[in-house]
Symmetry: D2
Subunit: 367 residues, 4 copies
Amino acid sequence: MTSSYGTSLRLTLFGESHGPAVGCVLDAPPPGLSVDPAAAARHMARRAPGRGGAWSTARAEADAPEILSGVFGGRTTGTPLAALVRNADARSADYAALARTPRPGHGDLTGRIRYGGANDPRGGGHFSARVTAALCFAGALALQWLAARGVSVRARVAEIGGVADGPAPDPLEPLPDLSGKPLPALSDDAAAAMVAAIEAARAEGDSVGGVVEVRAAGLPAGLGAPFFDRVETRLGAMLLSLPAVRALEFGDGFACARRRGSENNDRPTPAPGGDPLRAGRATNRAGGAEGGITTGLPVVARLAFKPTPSVAREQTTVDLETNEAVPIRVPGRHDPCVVPRAVPLVESAAAFALLDLWLSTSASRFP
Amino acid sequence: MTSSYGTSLRLTLFGESHGPAVGCVLDAPPPGLSVDPAAAARHMARRAPGRGGAWSTARAEADAPEILSGVFGGRTTGTPLAALVRNADARSADYAALARTPRPGHGDLTGRIRYGGANDPRGGGHFSARVTAALCFAGALALQWLAARGVSVRARVAEIGGVADGPAPDPLEPLPDLSGKPLPALSDDAAAAMVAAIEAARAEGDSVGGVVEVRAAGLPAGLGAPFFDRVETRLGAMLLSLPAVRALEFGDGFACARRRGSENNDRPTPAPGGDPLRAGRATNRAGGAEGGITTGLPVVARLAFKPTPSVAREQTTVDLETNEAVPIRVPGRHDPCVVPRAVPLVESAAAFALLDLWLSTSASRFP
Amino acid sequence: MTSSYGTSLRLTLFGESHGPAVGCVLDAPPPGLSVDPAAAARHMARRAPGRGGAWSTARAEADAPEILSGVFGGRTTGTPLAALVRNADARSADYAALARTPRPGHGDLTGRIRYGGANDPRGGGHFSARVTAALCFAGALALQWLAARGVSVRARVAEIGGVADGPAPDPLEPLPDLSGKPLPALSDDAAAAMVAAIEAARAEGDSVGGVVEVRAAGLPAGLGAPFFDRVETRLGAMLLSLPAVRALEFGDGFACARRRGSENNDRPTPAPGGDPLRAGRATNRAGGAEGGITTGLPVVARLAFKPTPSVAREQTTVDLETNEAVPIRVPGRHDPCVVPRAVPLVESAAAFALLDLWLSTSASRFP
Amino acid sequence: MTSSYGTSLRLTLFGESHGPAVGCVLDAPPPGLSVDPAAAARHMARRAPGRGGAWSTARAEADAPEILSGVFGGRTTGTPLAALVRNADARSADYAALARTPRPGHGDLTGRIRYGGANDPRGGGHFSARVTAALCFAGALALQWLAARGVSVRARVAEIGGVADGPAPDPLEPLPDLSGKPLPALSDDAAAAMVAAIEAARAEGDSVGGVVEVRAAGLPAGLGAPFFDRVETRLGAMLLSLPAVRALEFGDGFACARRRGSENNDRPTPAPGGDPLRAGRATNRAGGAEGGITTGLPVVARLAFKPTPSVAREQTTVDLETNEAVPIRVPGRHDPCVVPRAVPLVESAAAFALLDLWLSTSASRFP
């Protein structure tokens, strides 16, 4: 398996950028869970290109997913749930020359080596971020199922092009719902400055990166395990699989490495309700996990996205037929910044990983 | 499974801090690989406590592993390789009170919830870093097998207590062999300052964290896959499973998020040998992977370790019987800084993950 | 996972009898393998209903699969290959009453318990043999890829309604290609008697079962492992997953239990070519495996299929609303014998399992 | 993985016949389950050689397992449970010549090819039935945990050397506890005749095979899934992994293939307690599963064991150095019949597989 994720609920992604469709199979959601396709489509629309402002490609995708199986009468059947999204607007001609001159920062060259030249080069093939439309759909369902149990998984743009989203909110609290904002940062002033940074990069034929923060609030304490089923491991494996991600922090992340132990520990506090196993913590520097297991506080992670490697300005690459350095301008329509569109994707990805972790933890208890 | 890792070569860790032994099973290494138990023991000695200087606990462990199966005539048989390390020096009495008053920053409370109170609380049980002795052994074998194919996996202390190891070396190059140094940083001056920082923390009954960098050089291009088998995913899942890790960067990591695309791309360069599929890159900002697949350049990662949560100075916690806040001083022998001992562990962990990725990639080609 | 099979090449089946489609995802075939969709469609046509004689339902399915991903330029890309078959001719009304009165011998009642009533009851939902169209497609590809390496996987009807297909052919040899026969038995006389037995059962509103034999010839020696990756385990897990299978023999199967050791062993014979590791065997009572690993002789298995549980004649069941015994006549169109249509399905299933085993064995060798 | 089994509870076997030890790791049992090591040792003693009568080898093993991890205060911790059994009495010299002259019916030759000559040839190495001592231990725990929930998993000798154990008992009922009998058949007369058949074979330097039946009674209805998680698939994959097994039937097995549908269906009957979802069946021809899911009736399976391939009388094999046919008499101590000792092993194996299936089914429900 190479495009599958999950232990108790297995997600497999399929599709190429310029093939007939992208899609996914979930094997298999618990039976009897409500499915709201319209809400899923709305969530996916936040990721879709051509809807946003300065940062979005002009490519218009018809991202309405078709559910092929696993849903009956509006509820999951408990057997595999498959869905696809047709690729409606693909202009393969844009990419014809790229088989010979790999785009800097893309998987064109590594993919060619990996697959012996057999992979689909059009638009990056299975390497394309287009495939994440299917992940976004799978996560939209996970978000619905978690929400029904009181769990919110929300993300925000924490930084774009060096512009930060003001002070971070209290990590003991969930993030607010930012899904209505075109650029989902907390601060509207910061968002405006971010848009300006994106516009400036685009004007120069360039691109910018940024940071996304995600928080999952409302999870029960006790999910995970001390080694390879840590919250950090399971959530990390999902988030590090997103295209363009270069780094990941949990809780205070790198800042923890510069503290003393007495400053970094989250001290247990008496449980409000009287059940000491529901003890709180005075702080949430750990980002919701101790010993790899959820504390019941929000799970907090931050992801660094690199700037879009496809830029209009001239770069150099190698001509694979002549083995000579040649100039390249990457044709096609490309986002000058993927970060705003990544926000719903990060929510989807995190929700899916945490749902799977929850199911796995349950699986380890005898009924 | 909760303590298992790997796709083509599966590692399972077992054992508790104060139980009879810790150990591992590898199911199963390729047949016919040479095994050097003495070299493995030397590698493990770098992680063992009681050998180092200021930063190491006084607990002396007899870390000589016993190989139980899977090796015959000095070579792997191709069937499961099991090994154990006996626990020789465990003083359980130190930990008796902790079932009632969970240590801040440890998995005492989350573990109790997760396992319904059935887990072994002595010394943290399976949560103990003691279990990583077995991971260190498994990785020692992976290091040997990779070295036989020209791959070096080496780590260094990049930072401790806010003291950095001077300028980072060229990411196009491997790290030097630092295994002979008690504190394996590149700069001896920086190492001395790090030791001073550790001593200062210990003198105040406190602890410090730090950052470890690891590089794997010599891997072939073409290992990995664009989604859930990315180099970042597979290596990340392993590294995020190490106790005390709070963050992870590949290549330039968070710094990438602040660059423009034209500044961040690693531009392909003509192949020295003439085979364009062996094209190089002018830089290695990506840390050895494009599209989730190795480029042939060194794979570079950095890990943030939090300060040891066990500190001698007084903290507060909750008494689980009374649900009241109470003071706590964590008894026992604890490292004021785990980072130096983590260096061989990070090398082990990374080597194992990359070996498994290599085997998985091979598995996807028809013989 | 509940509808997934495979270690190195993972197959996931999806779909319900009366939903939009059935299909599969393969994650992921080795790159660069030729795909012949027309040959796959011809293979699937052998399984499709409405094409055969007495034994086949009148339901006409449009079984032409649509490949959604993973194939480019007529070859596998090495990334997931998804395909679907639309459900064209479903009359759900036939099945409406069955939610209340479970059909004897079907999974109606166990499925309702398993999925808490959420599963799709129409036509059996995901329990339907309709889903095996997708398995048949996946196997058709495996058959092509094995054939390109000189491996034939062929099945025959060994028995129907108590009528046997004459003497079994020499197990040291492959089966002939019977794909052109409407009822693929070796003996045409036996086939005629089998058809008569099916007709007789149908005339009485009843059904008959039978036995299918499958042989895979041309596999290399050395595939498998002594415990849970035995040829028998991996092939058995696949074959026992086919609907209506109640028993499975390898080689001489139950007859081995009645022999003495000296009569049952297949004695090694000198290798014709001179390489003693290519030693033959004087007989093939073991069915191509020793110690769970292929010998290089044909892998031989026999499968018992129960008679179709859906019969027109009156049976009794329970009314789930009143908890009273009630008579039932199963409506709809049902095969009086599934065995002839099962032959290409068994070939598909066996080919897929053996291909996956081959890839897994390769994966355990260091490149 | 090649020596691992299980989805929710993963068992890995390790060890070689003449190495330091055999053992297993379970990753990981649910927390809080009682462990009775003495009862496990008694169960293992039924499988151990040197304890029985005519059919047992003279090799005396010290089969007392040492639990290394995962048990604290007499209960499972929820983290990996490892155990080993030391190999006390191994005479490797017996086997020295066999690397050159493979024993007929063993994995000597296939193993040599599979592992490129690196596997341990002494006593069959990891191919040895000795490894099943560890499986027997793992199953002994599964038997205890199932028994605590009212499930009995019991086996009997149904046939040895052509001597059958009289009429099969009612498949709607559990088997009685036969653990006190040296040859656990229902009929003492049949058992005496079986012993005579074994003695006769041994007297002629030969061996006999037989059939074991296993029944699991008391399982809830609703375990399994319609495709690759069928009861038959999951239980079958385990049972077909036992050395010497050549065939497997569920319920009436091959006899079903010779019936008509109206004769073979198990007709639902009203539930005694009034809850129609607890409907019974008038018969149990299916062996406890419909649509791959448990009915609540006993799960019934029968296994064919081939005769021990190691026989004292002369056979022929190939000399791998000369590629010539040579006579061989297999030295060492060998059971003339493995079937009596296989009975507790089959119970262990079935119990483990059904426990894992139960846990997997639970895992697919949202808590």
